[in-house]
Amino acid sequence: MLKSKYESVEQIIRSFKYQYSVDTCLQTCIENILLEFLEREKIPFKTNKKEIHRTLFKKGPYGQIALREYSSKLTDLLKGTQVRSIERYHSPSLIQAPGSIIDNSFHLEGLGRVCSDRNCSFPYVTVSGRWFDMMGLSSWSDPVNNHTVIILDLNLDEDRIEFFDPAEIFIKRSSKVDVIPKIINPDRFVSFWDEAKLPRLTGWFERKSDTLDRW
């Protein structure tokens, strides 16, 4: 169920960028979904694109970007747009955060809702480093080496999830796999999603719906 503007996944990917260095998957995903969202919904936006790029890619050593750091900076940039950045995680194994057990749980259905809701950007998710095994890059397949991909479409009836991998450009260069997958089985996906450092971490941008035009 693609967002109404699009007919195919390829149409979405056309505007997406690939990673320019191997350690910037999270930033690239965030920039892609944010710009696509602002453009698609024609949200008036004061800060220019370059500013967003600079904020996200203001590199710490080795492309490190802390979730807390980027989130607060982006909130500042997005002031006055009704758009906010949201992160959710759900972990059966991690200690539950006090008072927010239900809030924090996030399942495939929730992911599907974000994917199809017009008031949301496409979601990014973190997956375990085992993801690279699937792509034929076993050297990167370290359990702590998280990767981030964008989920474009989720169809549980047909058992398929379509995704965008920003590292594809590197995978193509070095992979031992002939055809690089662009679709994954939901159960397999959940196994990668669960194993990531922050299990089932999902992030997206959302427009507050309580605007005047609702009335």
Partner: protein
């Protein structure tokens, strides 16, 4: 924003929480590298792991960069019996990471010197930089002591000469009493030794044992470029786990990544050629490759550092 618990009840919970704190505060690549549990205090060390793609003229080799124990999260038991915790701010962490990385680089350089000093000291410009040391040492082949003032006056840059003398005293090669310089037993042993070239042995000994001092104290401009170039080749090769085959421009890119400055191509070509003459690097069909033996030693060092 995701909220994390402010305290945990035991070490097991702390260990489960640590990667989440690392992720939120320091980013994706952080991982739990070591645990120090003393009962009332638990220190969890975080390091950094991030992917690399090392390319040469023929292949792209995926690899991982690992820097363990950059910072720690400290859990302390409080009055209620639970463990509260504190950790470094992102900016502090960043500083520590840069420092640790610099330490890595220095260790690799030092090991490279240890493995290649005999070859390096055969390069004329490297030998030249150590000339003052040789002048003082070789004087003792002809006389028992030297006049310190005369030694200082032998060069225009007296301060530098002074540094050389201080350096030799520190390394137990000479002793200074009032205005006289005397050789020590160690230096005389070097001079009298029958096996091998005395100057190379002396230089090798100095380079190997006092590398960082030579670099900072004596500003050995003649040695530095050769060492950094050799290191720019062997560090990516060790990360890739095999000898790379690179063109001169790619070597310059490797150099840039490690040292953040870009050498002049013209000079680089010459320096690489000199290195290949003394068998630290090799030039085959216009591309640069290395020596298997040096690589395997550097790889060993890298492995030890990454697992510590």
């Amino acid at each position: 924003m995701i909220t994390l618990p402010r305290s945990v009840s035991n070490a097991e919970e702390a260990i489960r929480l640590a990667p989440a704190i690392g992720f939120m505060e320091y980013g994706q690549g952080s991982y739990l590298s070591n645990i120090d549990d003393t009962g009332d205090e638990i220190k969890l060390f975080l390091g950094i792991k991030y992917p690399l793609l090392i390319e040469d003229e023929e292949r792209s080799i995926p690899s991982m960069r690992i820097i363990p124990d950059v910072t720690s999260i400290n859990f302390k038991r409080n009055d209620t019996g639970r463990f509260g915790y504190d950790f470094d701010q992102y900016s502090v962490f960043k500083e520590k990471l840069i420092q640790k990385d610099y330490l890595f680089l220095q260790t690799l350089e030092r090991e490279l010197i240890r493995n290649t000093y005999e070859s390096l000291s055969k390069i004329p410009s490297v030998a030249n930089t150590l000339t003052p040391l040789m002048e003082i040492s070789n004087s003792f082949r002809f006389q028992e002591k030297l006049d310190k003032n005369k030694v200082l006056k032998s060069r225009k840059n007296q301060r530098q000469m002074h540094n050389y003398i201080r350096f030799m005293v520190r390394n137990d090669l000479i002793s200074v009493s009032e205005n006289d310089i005397h050789p020590t037993g160690k230096l005389l042993g070097f001079i009298d030794s029958k096996d091998g070239n005395f100057s190379i042995r002396l230089m090798g000994d100095l380079l190997m044992r006092n590398y960082s001092e030579l670099m900072t104290f004596l500003h050995l401009s003649g040695l530095k470029p050769y060492l950094t170039i050799a290191n720019s080749y062997y560090t990516p090769s060790s990360e890739a786990g095999s000898l790379l085959r690179v063109g001169i421009e790619r070597l310059r890119d490797y150099y840039k990544r490690l040292y953040r400055t870009s050498p002049i191509l013209m000079k680089l070509r010459n320096q690489v050629s000199m290195l290949s003459e003394v068998e630290v690097l090799r030039i085959e069909n216009r591309s640069i490759t290395g020596i298997e033996e040096i690589l395997s030693r550097q790889m060993g060092v890298l492995e030890t550092m990454q697992s510590s």
